[in-house]
């Protein structure tokens, strides 16, 4: 890894790491009576680990000039491995909190293990740890291939990748010791937020520098989605996290916004995090990996452009549907509801475009679990965006809001769409990146697929039932006009669904563990014991793709 850096880049890496270490030292000293001190120590440890890695390889020979004839894939490889570690952590903690709702004693009387602290560990690990690393890793892969240009330097991709993971570590460790600004999906405090801005701007500049070197005159649509993800997340992150710290020696800060303005800013951020982190970025992944894996160009390139602008400009106004029946002015609620309904058009255009691309390649979907991951992801994307638009309608929201229906909706999107498209893309990339003929075991990919699909369906069905039961019980009145059920009655009614949900989550976690094993064995280059299906081998190699694609089109 460090061997790929030039002498100058190794020196720059040392300077950056020493600076980071000094910042950590200042945080540890200034915040010694505060949780900020513990985070200072964590930053120092990260900087020291980086310094040791650079120093150990400092006098290694300079990288071979022939490297410039190859794509720079080290950051993608490292990113995929880190993403798989985060997904196991995130799913494990997620399943833990699911069992915590079944049996509240599973906190073991420890403050850090309470639901309120573990839940953000789960959401941050899966969204930012798993999703974010997968997006960074695949974006490096896709931008180089679609631009036919190598990344402009060797250091900044590693800075982006490791810097981003330092942010994730600060976030997750902070929740356990009680550091949070209590904004959903934006919990990390001011110092972690400032660090993420530095990393994110570097990421944007790196992406633009690579695109500036491109050979292809037209920028392929996947890059538009990845760029929208990077630009908008920067904008959302900065505005929603505007805050003033108590002092430079304190972790706590106070938001610039208050009252209903704060709620609106938070949900403008929150819903656009769904839109641009969990949708636009992963659509970028889909628009590259699905056509390549299927060996067919996207069904309609024009439709992909219309969807792009629709998603980019409609999503921006949809956030207020999270605040129906609140102090937010009625017309702003209606605005959010209307835009959420309009969003169905570009969302279904993308889902349909993906599924129609598979016309003529359905036999591959049958035989190849990797492509099937992507196909099911597109189906769940279509289902979830329909459900989302429906739930944004005010009277529907009066039944669904604050119930488990919302949790079911989120997980149909997160497990069914985001995780499925990511696993599909990772299974496609791993053999390409490590120059293997195929994954270690296509049968284990099959096993992962069925566990993931079953887990998602069990989870979502349980939460739909639970949510609607809960919502109906909350609004049932008896003859005298008083509520028929107490809150405790609804909790007891949800208990069986909570067990089902936790079991569904467990199946999903087991699938991910199988995926880790399979990826690890592929990286190590262990030949598979299972007989290989002929179609798998053909589909695994990117070189074989154009031939297959040409064969299909000549028959049309």
């Amino acid at each position: 890894m460090i061997g790929q850096l030039t002498k100058g880049e190794r020196q720059l890496a040392l300077v950056i790491l020493i600076f980071l270490g000094l910042v950590g030292l200042a945080m540890a000293a200034g915040g010694r009576h505060d949780p900020l001190g513990a985070h200072g120590a964590l930053v120092i440890v990260c900087a020291l680990a980086g310094l040791m890695a650079v120093i150990a390889a400092y006098f290694d020979p300079e990288p071979d000039p022939e490297r410039l004839d190859r794509y720079y894939d080290d950051p993608s490889k490292i990113g995929i491995v880190i993403a798989m570690i985060w997904v196991v952590v995130g799913l494990f903690v997620g399943d833990w909190v699911a069992w915590l709702l079944v049996n509240p004693d599973l906190t073991f009387d420890a403050g850090w293990a309470s639901f309120g602290r573990l839940r953000p560990v789960h959401t941050t690990s899966v969204i930012f740890g798993f999703g974010g690393n997968a997006l960074i890793a695949t974006s490096f892969y896709v931008m180089q291939r679609t631009s036919r240009a190598r990344l402009p330097d060797q250091l900044s991709p590693l800075f982006v990748l490791f810097g981003y993971n330092v942010f994730c570590l600060l976030a997750v460790s902070g929740y356990l010791i009680g550091v949070t600004q209590s904004k959903e999906y934006a919990e990390p405090e001011w110092y972690a937020d400032i660090w993420l801005v530095i990393v994110w701007v570097t990421y944007l500049v790196l992406y633009l520098r690579t695109l500036a070197r491109r050979k292809e005159p037209h920028i392929y649509v996947a890059n538009w989605y990845y760029l929208a993800f990077i630009v908008v997340v920067a904008m959302l992150h900065i505005v929603n996290n505007l805050a003033v710290p108590v002092s430079l020696g304190h972790a706590k800060s106070y938001s610039l916004f208050a009252g209903v303005q704060d709620a609106m800013t938070e949900w403008w951020y929150g819903h656009n995090a769904v839109a641009f982190f969990l949708t636009a970025g992963f659509l970028g992944m889909m628009y590259y990996y699905l056509p390549v894996r299927a060996g067919r160009p996207i069904f309609s390139y024009r439709l992909s452009i219309i969807s792009f602008w629709g998603i980019t400009f409609f999503y921006m106004w949809a956030g207020s549907h999270h605040l129906h029946y609140t102090a937010l002015p009625q017309w702003v609620q209606t605005l959010g509801m209307t835009f959420s309904l309009m969003l169905l058009v570009p969302s279904w255009a993308s889902a349909t475009n993906a599924l129609l691309t598979l016309n003529g390649a359905w036999h591959k979907v049958r035989d190849d679990a990797t492509l099937r991951f992507m196909m099911v992801a597109a189906v769940f994307y279509g289902l979830t965006t329909f459900e989302g638009s429906f739930m944004a309608i005010r009277p529907v929201n009066s039944l669904s809001h604050y119930t488990d229906w919302t949790i079911g909706h989120v997980h149909a999107g997160a497990l069914g769409w985001v995780a499925m498209i990511t696993f599909g893309s990772i299974y496609a990339s791993v053999p390409w990146l490590w120059k293997r003929e195929s994954m270690y075991s296509p049968r284990l990919v099959e096993a992962h697929f069925w566990l993931a699909l079953t887990g998602t369906i069990v989870y979502v069905m349980a939460m739909w039932n639970s949510g609607i039961v809960q919502g109906l019980m909350w609004r049932t009145y008896d003859d005298s006009g008083t509520l028929a059920y107490s809150f405790l009655d609804t909790v007891i009614a949800m208990h069986p669904y909570y067990i089902a949900r936790a079991v569904g989550g467990l199946l999903f976690l087991i699938g991910a563990l199988i995926g880790c094993y399979n990826i690890w064995m592929t990286i190590r280059g262990v030949p598979s014991a299972a007989p290989r299906v002929a179609t798998d081998t053909a589909a695994e190699s990117p070189v074989a793709v154009p031939a297959g694609a040409a064969a299909f089109r000549s028959g049309e």
């Binding site: 004839d69 794509y71 036919r148 190598r150 037209h218 160009p297 219309i306 990117p542 070189v543």
Partner: protein
């Protein structure tokens, strides 16, 4: 300067409406402009490459 609620509502209902209608129109014209067809079809094919190495 105080921005009044009514001013914002007026702005959203007038300028906001025409901004989005205009934007949709521009996107549709760009997408369906006849001379762009060739470029888009070529773009859709660019992801299928014979060799996995950069041009620069």
């Amino acid at each position: 300067m105080t921005i009044y609620h009514d001013t914002l509502v007026w702005l959203a209902k007038s300028a906001g409406l025409f901004y989005l209608m205009g934007l949709s129109l521009i996107v549709l014209i760009y997408t369906y402009w006849p001379s762009n067809k060739k470029r888009f079809n070529e773009a859709a094919e660019t992801i299928f490459q014979d060799e996995d190495k950069p041009c620069r």
